[in-house]
């Protein structure tokens, strides 16, 4: 786009002025919502939902004019005759045991399932083309979806939206578990939002925070829904959802308190002017087993109670379109504090950086008497770069020993001693009082076997095969080309000559 030319010459066109047909009420609407749930484990889950609804028959109209609904997806629906499309990208795994049931879970990696209209003749071809186009739109490797990882489920994955008949021939389902989700998938996803990431809840979607989380799942769901209660005509609904789980222990230095700014490094400043509804829900249901209570700041104007996923929940509701919510302080930074701080403990964790810095985990724990405490750390075996392997990689790789430093209460109260006068072996570690003494224990170093690839295997096979062939060939060749003739048994060999030499030296005639 190097050259731009101002348009100076205008061709006069005989365009008649035509009176304006009065603009009809907007046929599309946009709602956004953020649910923040403090999880039982102390983590915090944030679930965004953006819903664009369009009252239009996408597949029947020739010329398509888009307003809030993204053009890229709209064209897909009409070109490939889609009835439903569900696409999710997920990093991490939702741990139901610690985090409770999710609003919507998705498998790790990329998941795509699509219902086609029954007018589609070659479903497999459309499916292949669609996955290629989607891989272009979302910068993902969906183009690796082929017949080897595509299935047509017959019982599960019923259409979520409006459907007359469910012939499973028109359903395709594929998962790519290896897909790594990163910023390049989030950026095109954000571009589909009407307010992009400039206003409203989408301001919070800052990539470097969203991917420093224990769980990240973004999804796109397109489905037809009823336009009105009688369901005389259909509308299209696009739901973009994003769920993240923040590990507040890491970011918050061991405290379970959080605020919007601490999680997203942004605060809410203005509502999206295109949204008809823009709300933040904060789960303030107290967990009775912990006897802890929550305090939300600023105090909510309304609360919302309902039975969600089988339990009664209470939510504090903040409406961004309500001018009072934001106008007080020009921005909205929700904060949540736990009234009774958690147990006196200290955890310092410094994550490793690849090839630069090791992991460091320090914990201050008060151990109960007569108990066994196990600290276990999970690790993954990874392949190194091939130049980084030691000459004997099968020996294993060492992990440095853990250190246990403790003040052990002394059985016998020791007298406070004179620092300078006492023997040297007694004064290495300073002890404040005589009731306890200091010990530092080390564990054994750990020897970990890393997977070692056989670098030369293919070449070895080739060489070995070739050698076998060459040896067979060589002996065969020798057998055929060499001439064999019977050697006359010679009258004496080396022994005879040696004997003659000795005989000559002795002056005896040779043999």
């Amino acid at each position: 786009m190097a050259v731009s030319v101002p348009l100076a010459v205008l061709v006069l066109l005989s365009l008649g002025r035509v009176g304006w047909s009065h603009a009809e009420p907007p046929r599309d609407s946009f709602r956004e919502e953020l649910v923040i749930t403090p999880l039982p484990s102390g983590d915090v889950a944030a679930t965004f939902q953006f819903r664009t609804r369009w009252d239009s028959e996408l597949q029947r109209e020739g010329v398509s004019h888009y307003r809030l609904f993204p053009k890229a997806l709209g064209q897909l629906i009409s070109k490939y005759s889609l009835r439903e499309l569900h696409l999710s990208f997920t990093q991490g795994f939702w741990r139901t045991r610690y985090w409770g049931p999710p609003f919507l879970q998705a498998p790790s990696g990329a998941e795509l399932w699509v219902w086609f209209q029954d007018t589609v003749t070659d479903v497999d071809k459309s499916w292949k083309e669609l996955s290629n186009v989607l891989s272009g739109i979302f910068c993902a490797s969906l183009n690796f979806i082929d017949s080897t990882n595509t299935v047509t489920p017959t019982a599960s994955f019923k259409p979520l939206g409006l459907a007359n008949d469910t012939d499973h021939y028109f359903l395709r389902y594929a998962v790519l578990p290896r897909e790594v989700v990163c910023t390049e998938n989030l950026t095109p996803w954000k571009k589909l939002l009407p307010c992009s990431s400039k206003a409203g809840l989408s301001v919070l979607l800052k990539a470097d925070r969203l991917f420093h989380t224990s769980y990240h799942s973004q999804a796109v769901h397109i489905r037809p829904i009823c336009r009105n209660a009688l369901c005389t005509s259909i509308s299209w609904e696009l739901r973009q959802t994003l769920s993240v789980v923040f590990d507040t222990f890491i970011t918050g230095q061991g405290k379970k308190d959080w605020s919007l700014f601490r999680m997203f490094s942004r605060t809410l400043t203005e509502p999206c002017p295109l949204a008809s509804e823009s709300q933040v829900y904060v789960d303030i249901t107290s967990y009775s087993q912990d006897k802890e209570t929550l305090e939300v700041n600023p105090p909510p104007t309304t609360t919302y109670q309902d039975v969600i996923l089988g339990t009664r929940k209470t939510y504090a509701v903040y409406d961004l379109l309500d001018t009072a919510t934001i106008n007080n302080s020009r921005n909205l930074n929700l904060q949540l504090k736990w009234k009774r701080p958690p147990e006196n403990g200290y955890i310092h964790y410094q994550p490793a950086q690849d090839r630069q810095q090791p992991h460091l985990l320090e914990m201050l724990i008060q151990l109960p008497a007569n108990s066994v405490t196990k600290v276990s750390i999970q690790f993954e075996r990874a392949l190194l770069k091939w130049t980084e392997y030691t000459p004997d990689p099968n020996h294993g790789f060492y992990v440095s020993p853990s250190v246990l430093s403790a003040l052990v209460p002394s059985l016998v109260a020791a007298k406070p001693v004179d620092w300078e006068g006492s023997p040297l072996f007694n004064t290495l570690f300073p002890v404040s009082d005589g009731s306890s003494y200091f010990v530092r224990l080390y564990t054994e170093p750990l020897l970990v076997n890393l997977p070692t690839p056989d670098f030369s295997m293919p070449y070895n096979v080739i060489c070995l095969t070739c050698t076998v062939v060459a040896v067979c060939y060589g002996s065969f060749y020798n057998l055929l080309t060499r001439t064999f003739h019977i050697e006359e048994p010679s009258t004496g060999g080396l022994a005879k000559r040696l004997a003659n030499l000795i005989r000559r030296a002795r002056g005896v005639p040779p043999l």
Binding site: M1, A2, V3, S4, V5, P6, L7, A8, V9, L10, V11, L12, L13, S14, L15, R17, V18, W20, S21, A23, V63, S64, H65, Y66, R67, P70, K71, A72, Q75, L76, K79, Y80, V133, G136, I137, K191, C195, S196, K198, A199, E270, P273, L274, Y459, I462, C463, C466, T467, V469, A470, Y473, G474, Y477, N478, L480, T481, T483, F484, H485, I486
Partner: protein, 555 residues
């Protein structure tokens, strides 16, 4: 006993030699060709000589011109010579390897009765309406009517008239050299209506050397089977502006008729979208004198790129996209004007970027801000917008303003905004461009195959190449015989086939197969097998030489 032993040994030696020679022969006669055959890259035969012949192709563009003489247009003795045919041929000077000749084949005939009557009418428009039978006229052909010198059909000072269809009117003359003079005028008019040098130069802009045409010529969109036209309304400030545009009506009323006439040149699809919070990449400057903001001309190239990432590529088709953006500046930066090179505001407040599309800045009427409540509702005046966008669309397609010869009257535009002969001219240019593209593609493929030996040519790729070569030749023939529409269709087929062959993924299958890996795999097998054969061959050779030398010594 010893003698028989020696004979037996000799026989053994000879047998051994023969065995060694046989081994060598098998290895050379059977082994080498087998190895060669199993490891060679498959390459179907291609018409290399025909492809290199395409470079020297002579394009002869024939424009059939029918010249119709009315009763008093030329002296009587000249009228007696009618009907006859004159051919006027001229080479179009371009720095291009293809020689392009333009050939006007003028068929002179007398006017028929109904034509005489029509040309006696009061005005050109009426005459045209009576004469008009556009279905009869072939694409690319022209009809020129020669009227009498004193006819009142044209204004007195005008010598000729170019109509919106494929017709023109030329004033006759009573002179001894009448036919020559008229013939010259006809050529002038016909050139304006069909082929001129700059039209072809713009079409071939990609294939010509950079110096002459690149900078000042507006490069039109590359020829393609179809085009996608996207209208986008950019509203960077939805808090202050609630912009509405009746794009559906505007497309139906203004864009679709224009595209229907253009449909011979390709398939078109139109869509539109509204993008919020889409900013320009450049901060406009404030002009205190007029208390307005402006974008200077040198900053315009930087405007497009940041917007483009929001436009969204067209996911559903492979055709090139033309973007037309209507930008409603945010409240803080309005009114916003575009300045030209001299610093004066551009009247249309729009600019276009060749091969990409156009941008128009639409300022909100300042009176609208008197209403206190925000956002302000803005209804876009689509007539004003579409005038600009259609003018830009013409420029992007390379439909430039014709160079009218002196004293020539040009008819007003048709309601669709495109004259029939302008469409013909576009088709000429596109056909030539397609032929040039197809030839270049085929030549590059042939060159590439000569340079890189690892490229596989499958049979279907080869058949595409044959099809492309045949289509190029057919298009050239059709152009020479004046059949424009079939020539255009053949040239499109040539481009499609040649590109399909060139970009076929099967060409690359064996491309990344380095030689050192090949040797690493061959040596463990070939070395132990070849060494004994070679050694025994050397031994046999030495022995034979010795046995030849021995008899000499005896002599």
């Amino acid at each position: 006993m010893a003698a028989t032993g020696a004979v037996a040994t000799d026989r053994e030696v000879v047998r051994g030699k023969r065995a060694a020679l046989f081994f060598a022969a098998v290895a050379i006669v059977l082994g080498l060709p087998l190895w060669w055959k199993t490891t060679e890259t498959y390459r179907a035969p291609l018409p290399y000589s025909q492809i290199s012949g395409l470079n020297a192709l002579q394009l002869r563009l024939m424009v059939p011109v029918t010249v119709v003489f009315t009763r008093d247009s030329v002296p009587l003795d000249d009228q007696g010579k009618l009907p006859f045919t004159v051919v006027h041929e001229r080479e179009i000077p371009l720095k291009y390897k293809m020689k392009i000749k333009c050939r006007f084949q003028k068929t002179y005939r007398r006017a028929l009765d109904h034509e005489e009557e029509a040309l006696l009418l009061g005005s050109v428009q009426e005459a045209e309406a009576t004469l008009a039978q556009p279905n009869e006229q072939v694409e690319g052909s022209l009809t020129v009517y020669v009227i009498s010198e004193h006819s009142s059909l044209l204004p007195q000072d005008m010598m000729s008239y170019i109509g919106p269809e494929r017709t023109a009117v030329v004033r006759g003359v009573m002179h001894r050299e009448a036919l020559n003079i008229i013939g010259h005028r006809i050529i002038q008019v016909a050139q304006a209506m069909s082929l001129t040098e700059d039209v072809l130069a713009a079409a071939l802009a990609d294939h010509l050397p950079e110096d002459k045409w690149s900078s000042d010529k507006r490069r039109p969109l590359k020829s393609s089977l179809g085009y996608e036209i996207t209208f986008s309304l950019l509203n960077p400030d939805p808090k202050s502006h609630d912009v509405h545009w009746d794009i559906e009506g505007a497309v139906r009323r203004y864009v679709q008729p224009f595209l229907n006439t253009l449909s011979a040149a390709g398939n078109f699809s139109v869509d539109s979208q509204i993008l919020y919070y889409a900013m320009l990449g450049v901060n406009p400057r404030f002009d205190p004198a007029s208390s307005s903001y402006y974008l200077s001309m040198h900053s315009l190239p930087h405007v497009i790129n940041p917007v483009e990432s929001r436009l969204g590529s067209s996911a559903a088709s492979l055709y090139p996209v033309l973007n037309f953006l209507l930008y409603v500046p945010e409240l803080a930066h309005s009114p916003l004007y575009i300045q030209d090179r001299d610093g004066a505001p551009v009247a249309t407040n729009a600019f276009h970027s060749p091969r990409w599309g156009g941008i128009m800045v639409y300022n909100v009427d300042p009176k609208a801000y008197n209403v206190s409540e925000q956002p302000v509702r803005v209804e876009v005046d689509m007539v004003r917008v579409m005038e600009v966008f259609l003018a830009q669309l013409r420029l992007l397609f390379g439909i430039a303003h014709p160079q009218v010869p002196p004293k020539c009257l040009l008819s007003g535009p048709k309601s669709e905004g495109l004259m029939t002969w302008e469409l013909d001219r576009l088709l000429w240019a596109r056909s030539v461009e397609n032929l040039a593209t197809a030839t270049t593609t085929l030549t590059s493929l042939a060159q590439l195959l000569g340079k890189i030996s690892n490229i596989v040519i499958k049979d279907d790729v080869a058949s595409e190449v044959y099809r492309a070569v045949a289509a190029v030749q057919k298009a050239a023939e059709e152009l020479a015989s004046g059949h424009l529409s079939s020539a255009f269709a053949a040239s499109q087929e040539a481009v499609t086939s040649s590109e399909r062959a060139f970009f076929d993924p099967s060409l690359l299958h064996l491309l990344y197969f380095p030689d050192d890996q090949k040797f690493a795999i061959y040596i463990p097998l070939f070395l132990p097998m070849a060494v004994p054969i070679l050694l025994s061959l050397v031994k046999i050779f030495l022995e034979t030489r010795k046995s030849w030398k021995k008899p000499e010594k005896i002599d």
